[in-house]
Symmetry: C2
Subunit: 125 residues, 2 copies
């Protein structure tokens, strides 16, 4: 039986409150997704824990056979295009029976345009 | 007559393509907003141009009396809470007749939750 894990990957900050902010976002995503995923977690590329490796291991320990990776980044920089894929490639070698699937990064979503427009319009009210 | 400018403030990257990505997002926001704002532009905190000071000056040169500032950031770190407000405070002294208004940062928007959830669900299809 296949089990789906969702891992939202953020950059990580020296500022605990910034990391906490991401943790809160991810807990709301988990709530919104209901039973669609068997687990929903956050992992940080650097400066904070859990690391991506920790997040992958934990998901697999909980039985995941498919892991969806969502880069919580606004731009397609080196982190999204190289650093995170490099880490996942190593995880794929460690866990050859698990399927890893990247979505595009958050900033590429057309919905961002509407969000920004709504924020701007709200300021005029 | 009051004239409204929108300035979307991003961090800025050494990678030109990342900055270009933000420029594209902002041009789509401009399109979506139609006539609601007299000008819509992007400015970068560091590593790229135009700077925030440039963006403010340009908006005012074009006649802006009210400037809405949208922080294109995912977390409420030092940049959003201190660095950008410090710069704007100095601009306020330079242009005492212009009204500056901050929105909250992008990452604080509840719409982000839906976007992330949709991205995750899409990966299962």
């Amino acid at each position: 039986m296949s089990k789906n894990a969702l891992l939202i990957i953020a950059h990580g900050s020296r500022k605990t409150s910034s990391n906490d902010e991401v943790v809160t976002v991810v807990s709301k995503v988990k709530e919104e997704l209901g039973d669609s995923f068997d687990s929903v977690s956050v992992a940080f590329l650097e400066l904070a824990t859990p690391s991506i490796e920790d997040g992958v291991r934990e998901s697999i320990t909980e039985g995941a056979t498919h892991i969806t990776l969502v880069p919580y980044f606004l731009a397609l920089g080196k982190h999204v295009s190289m650093d995170i894929p490099d880490i996942i490639q190593k995880q794929q070698l460690l866990y050859p029976n698990v399927t890893f699937k990247f979505t595009s990064h958050l900033g590429s979503q057309e919905g961002i345009i509407t969000l920004l427009s709504d924020m701007a319009l709200e300021s005029l009210r």
